[in-house]
Amino acid sequence: MSKVLELKNITKRYPGVLALDDVSISLEAGEIHALMGENGAGKSTLIKSVAGAINIDGGKIVIGEREFEHMTPSDSLNNGVAVIYQEFNLIPSMSVAENIFMGEKIGGRFVADFKKMHKRAAEIFAQFGVDIDTHAMVESLSTAQMQIVEIAKALSKNVKILFMDEPSATLSMTEVKYMFEIIRRLKANGVAVIYVSHPIDEVFELCDRVSVMRDGRYIATKNVATTTRKELVSLMVGRELVESYPARTPPQGEVVLEVKNLTGNGVRDISFQLRKGEILGLGGLVGCGRTELAKLIYGAAELESGQIIVDGAPVQIRTPYEAIKLGIGLIPEDRKREGVFVDYPLDWNVVIMCLRRIAKHGVVNRKEVNATSDRYINELQISTPSVKQIVKNLSGGNQQKVVLARVLAAQTKIIIFDEPTRGIDVGAKQEIYRLMNALTNEEISIIMISSEMEELLGMSDRIIVLHEGTQAGELIKTDFSQIAVLELASAAK
């Protein structure tokens, strides 16, 4: 077999972080090569370097005979590299065909031939037995259809090396099977595929070889046929993983929050109860409406119909301000954009939600600010040189604790964690789990949205699964299994 792509000693620095540290991986023609690693291991950064979307600080990218130290998007495309990113790179207001051939000349030197463009797009779809109207605007497509348009876009460019960054995250089970078929056909045509994936099962089903990355470093490459699930996991986390979720007994306390037929913000007809001290897991595929539901309860999105009952009394929550007053807090999924104020100091972040309480006649009391910050630095064991540390310079785990501190300082009793451990390293994850457990012992109730199956099964007392904005079902602790959640999530029943 011949090598189609070699990455030699790739290094990429971001301010304060070494995102890629001397990574070398090679790829052979016609293989499906899985790239695995925890969040923040550097997989996406690696893909972006090869695509020319970012500049590398050191190392070489060798494609066939050509060597690159600085890759540009057009160099990358012209050498047969195509990338399907996690976030689609489509232009919503343009047609399917135009998106597929964006940046390519179909027709004359200056004037595009749209008939030919649509015909060729239809040919690509026909080749894979897909039925999508090439005249449709991309914004009118479903997520799975957009995924197919992305693949078609790659195919139209005579691709030799295809990167796919977590392509299955937004697809249902049947759609994933369908995509696998397409990938296998690509492989048969001699295309090398780098497949970034979280679910290990997919790797065993689809891939030939697997490379593991951790903390920006290359760890090892294994043949899928001769490796085991356990080996891969331990390579990823760097040690034998002890799944240490705190032992929990589902509490039978009073109901603190009840929602009835909640509709709005893309979700429909959601009803459930949350008990005092309970951790209620919300499962489902990416885009199934969990975050949207959280924002609805938190008053960050408009409620169309349905009722929210807090401590037995029906309430109106129209804004996050009202939610906080009722003791509901949200720890958002996108920490850097919606959680912390990254450029402000720690203490500022901690007290921002409870300023009214610690201010006297509208003037913020410096002593109170320090006392509150110190208290949570101790309680949550936030490791920081001082209360004045700029939050940007804290680790992901500590940033998450800052958001938690802020929510706790506002004296909330119900906390919604949206992906509580996203982008946090393994050690800090355990600490977040421990903290969540400790909070429930203090009669705080938690709703936890998680896309990590083990976390969802390990931490929850009860799980509600959403599917395309509706409630697919509820699982009690004795029924917990990965299969059960996935079946509900993809409505495979």
Partner: protein, 326 residues
């Protein structure tokens, strides 16, 4: 997947400017005696031809998701510089025209250059640039009216082809059809759309974003310069107050024409109708002897409505999409 089903409401709301234009024409046709005379209609078109020419350039910019507020003051400065050179007698009129267009391109280029290097929106740069240009224009014109253009120059704005068709209307249609073709049929035009639709996708598709932005700057400058030539040659004189205010009419017309405030959406034919709406309204309000200050209020309301309609449509589409997804 079936063909798009025909929906009268969607067709109408996608061609809002034409609907409004029809309503305006009917309204003035009924309430104004001499509105439908060929003379009045030709008059309106030739008076406003320069608006559409400038709007064509700005449409490219707005389609790419940017905005330029300095158009009016660019015209003011370009006008007094060109006119000054022309009446001095030292420079032939055709060279003056080239200088005017070159100067407009230069200003637009500077706006884009600053926006790229300061990593700001062109809009922000042009807010400051407006004042600079205004000052320069008054310095050069010394607040005086410049008049006495050569006959050949005045022919552009006042002349008739075959003693019937105003030259300015001819220029307007040539510009409109050429640039419609460029926008709809050429790669370049589609890339302009792509830039407004999703800059990062466009970049990753191998489109040279920086080159695109500078080329759009050249287009904006060229048509603003050309528009100013048409304007001052029709007026037969110029001064520093000639030009400012144009940007407002143009931008309102473009929004009315259905170009989205985020870029990436809209048609030049819509802009054509939008500009005509603005032209007819001003003309109609003048014929009806409406006080100029009331006219300002009306124009402002039209602009808000046009933007509001765009945002309303955007929200509605997003809402539909969310329901579909759910």
């Amino acid at each position: 997947m079936g063909k798009k089903n025909f929906n009268i409401f969607r067709v109408l709301s996608n061609n809002m400017a034409w609907v409004i234009l029809t309503l305006i024409v009917i309204f003035f046709g009924i309430f104004s005696d001499n509105f439908f005379s060929i003379r009045n209609l030709l008059n309106i078109l030739s008076q406003n031809a320069y608006l559409l020419v400038a709007a064509t350039g700005l449409t490219f910019l707005m389609m790419s998701g940017e905005m330029d507020l300095s158009v009016g003051y660019t015209m003011s400065l370009v006008g007094v510089v060109g006119a000054g050179l022309m009446v001095s007698g030292a420079v032939p009129y055709w060279l003056c025209m080239i200088i005017m267009i070159a100067l407009a391109i230069f200003i637009s280029f500077i706006n884009t250059f600053l926006a790229i290097h300061l990593k700001l929106q062109i809009l922000v740069i042009t807010i400051a640039m407006m004042t600079v240009l205004q000052g320069l224009s008054y310095i050069i014109s010394k607040s005086k009216t410049i008049t006495g253009f050569p006959v050949e120059f005045k022919f552009i704005g006042q002349g008739l082809l075959f003693h019937t068709i105003p030259i300015s209307i001819l220029i307007m249609f040539v510009v409109f059809f050429t640039m419609s073709f460029v926008l709809n049929r050429t790669y370049y035009g589609r890339y302009v759309y792509a830039l407004g639709g999703n800059k990062e996708s466009a970049r990753l598709a191998g489109i040279n974003i920086v080159k695109m932005r500078y080329s759009i700057a050249v287009i904006v400058g060229f048509f603003v310069g050309l528009a100013d030539i048409m304007l001052i040659s029709r007026l037969g004189s110029t001064q520093s107050i000639i030009g400012p205010g144009t940007e407002f009419s143009i931008i309102t017309g473009i929004f009315l024409g259905g170009v989205s405030i985020r870029g990436g959406e809209g048609k030049l034919s819509g802009v054509f109708a939008g500009i005509l709406c603005i032209a007819l309204l001003s003309n109609g309000m003048q014929l009806a002897n409406i006080n100029i200050y009331y006219q300002y209020v009306v124009r402002g309301i039209i602009m808000i409505s046009a933007i509001g309609f765009d945002v309303f449509q955007l929200n509605r589409r997003n809402a539909i999409k969310k329901i579909k997804k759910a």
